[in-house]
Amino acid sequence: MPASLQSSGEFPAGLRVLVVDDDVTTLKIIEQMSLRCHYQVTTCSEATVALKILRERKGCFDVVLSDVHMPDMDGYKLLEHVGLEMDLPVIMMSVDDRTSTVMKGIRHGACDFFIKPVRMEELRNIWQHVARKILNENKEHDNSGSIEDNDRNTQGNDDNDNTSSVAGATKGIVKEQKKRSNLKDEDVELENDDPSASKKPRVVWSVELHQQFVSAVNQLGLDKAVPKRILEMMNVPGLTRENVASHLQKFRLYLKRLSVVAHQQNGMLNTVHGTIESKLAATGRYDIQALAGSGHVSPETLAALQAELLGHPATNIMPTVDRTALMHASVQGTKHSLADDHAVACGQPLVKYPSNIVNNFPQSILKVDDSSSIYGAWPPSSTLGSVSSGRLGVQNNNTLVDILQHQQQHQHQQKQQQSQIHDQNRSINVQPSCLVVPAQSSNTFQAVNSVASVNKDCSFSRNAIIDYSQSSQKSSNSSSSSQYPGGETRATSISPQISSFSVGSRNNNIQQIQNSTLTFGAARPLPGLLPLTLRQVPYDIKSSDSLDEVCLRNLGFVGKGTCIPSFENKIQSSANDFSQMKVFMASNGNTVKEELEEEPSLIRYPNASQPVLQNYPSHDHSSAFT
């Protein structure tokens, strides 16, 4: 906290400002203006020198005012360094008033953007950024709560009220975009051509890393944990404040969601459960026709789902369904028919599960990172994509979803075998353009290890879904056969491609959270934890010798948190699937990679789904990118 604010008899006076501009004239004028505002102003005509000053005299400045175009160092670069190293509010200024320029500044973390000429009125107000930062740091937790509020509002909507939900979701997305600064991303417009090059390494939130993170948060107390402190406590080289900040935000959202779910749990569980059960019972197994007939995927639903895919936490279309219920449903579904029927499910999550459940998928996604948004943006036209729901699960931290995903994937494979590709139309978000690259084909459980590695990298992500869809088209033959409990399965043939997909996504948080769950759960018992526990299932499977044992273990674990009956079959099946699934993100790196990158991605995709874009409030921003 700057000294100036503490001795706040006359707060804005004495604000320590560093002005960086290669244009001496401007520098001189701003200096004079700052003096008029009674700021303590330091001027600097070179960005590199400015950075040096800032590093040497840490804590000696409250706010930085920096030009964008400077010969020795790009203003954005300086901004980035400042944001990462000293957590100071940075105001950019430029004569360039194009939206793209300003947007770039915002995305790099600028707290304000002045169009030159800078006026006295603007300068007189810059103290607000300092004050805001301090206040925000004091109650950062409340901040995340605001999103959650939005969330609750949306929850109030009826299931059918999809449009409004979408609107809510979009609003939320924008909000989140505003909140987060995307420092790592280079300008997307410039980089669309070559995504692989010049990307900074993403931080992979490995289990260990996340544990460190969680213990740091616990030590600090959730309310008082700010990225900077956490970073200090974690003391991990290479980790930036931004990484921690975004992870923290996701973590908080996750916790919040868990607690909300916990509240809902009691009331909702029965209903949903009943519905699903009855449906399942009636049909016994689903076949595609039945599904097609029964399920209507209205455009609204699609839109809603897409919005959900966007990964915005606020999107709870169906408040009533909670994860546990979902879990039950899925489990039961598995029990009843593991095989072909589910393939259908993969294809059309919407159809298969009563609409509420479908919507639920996204709900769990809540904490998802933005990358998911991209998916949402994909044109519905893509085929087979039904798997997307599975993807959703992956995105989610929720184990439930994961499991579902696994199942679906499994089913999907089967589906492929059956060559029921005709479902394609219903598929929601899969982008056709993604290429699946065959990796080493692993039969059944051998893959387990490799999978583990993948998970370690936390690379397992929604992308997987895409891949699947693609693969399904490609793969008609199968190498390995595995029996599914459902028995109905035809010999499960997994095409080599399918069997060895490795997911190359960044989905950083999801996987890691698992461990944290444990720790965290210990700290405060949340019923909502259940999903996390479940989540571990895949991991265990990987590491474990025998799947059955693993399953059992997991079951026990799950039971501890919340009693969910009869997972065995399901888990097993999912395990199988999982083991075989290494999703490999292949070419088409552009799209995928971009998506993976960071949240604001929505904007980048011009071909994004219409509903979402339309709802996207800030047109100016999006227009810049389109």
Binding site: D23, V24, T25, T26, K28, I29, Q32, M33, P71, M120
Partner: protein, 158 residues
């Protein structure tokens, strides 16, 4: 008598300023500049403007030499120079120079060399005009300050 002279000079100055505003040579940013001038920095405006002239001439030289190269292709550099020129010009309120710079930048964005050259000539012309007028203004101001300064001790002695 001398006080009267100062008042006249003051009126001259205002007339010239009004004229420059009317012509769109200057805008209200220049007034901001004038308001920043106070007893702690009595020559602030002329100091800043002189810095501006100094920088601008460097920029103009660079621009011309860039555009005169036989195989000219570095529009990016032109834009960088122009951005700086726009920044400084707008900061002192040199409105017409700024708008020509913007047109210049647009031409360079389109890789329009002919347009760039035309814009450069206009820019040089406009810059000279601005410089002359501002010098004129400063001269009047100097005389006025002088006149006022002379009057002040005289009043004291009386």
């Amino acid at each position: 008598m001398l006080g009267l002279g100062a008042d006249l000079l003051w009126a001259d100055m205002n007339r010239l300023l009004a004229f420059l505003f009317h012509q769109g040579v200057l805008d209200e940013q220049f007034l901001q500049l004038q308001q920043l001038q106070d007893h702690t920095s009595p020559n602030f405006v002329s100091e800043v403007v002189n810095i501006y002239f100094h920088e601008s001439e460097k920029l103009l030289t660079n621009l011309r030499s860039l555009l005169m190269e036989r195989e000219f292709s570095d529009y990016k550099k032109i834009e960088i120079h122009l951005n700086q020129f726009i920044g400084s010009s707008s900061s002192i309120g040199a409105k017409r120079v700024t708008s020509i710079c913007i047109a210049f930048r647009a031409a360079s964005e389109q890789d329009n060399r002919a347009g760039c050259l035309r814009a450069l000539e206009m820019l040089e012309h406009e810059y000279c005009y601005l410089k002359n007028k501002l010098h004129e203004l400063f001269q009047i101001e100097q005389q006025r300050a002088l006149a006022a300064g002379v009057r002040y001790p005289m009043q004291q002695h009386q």
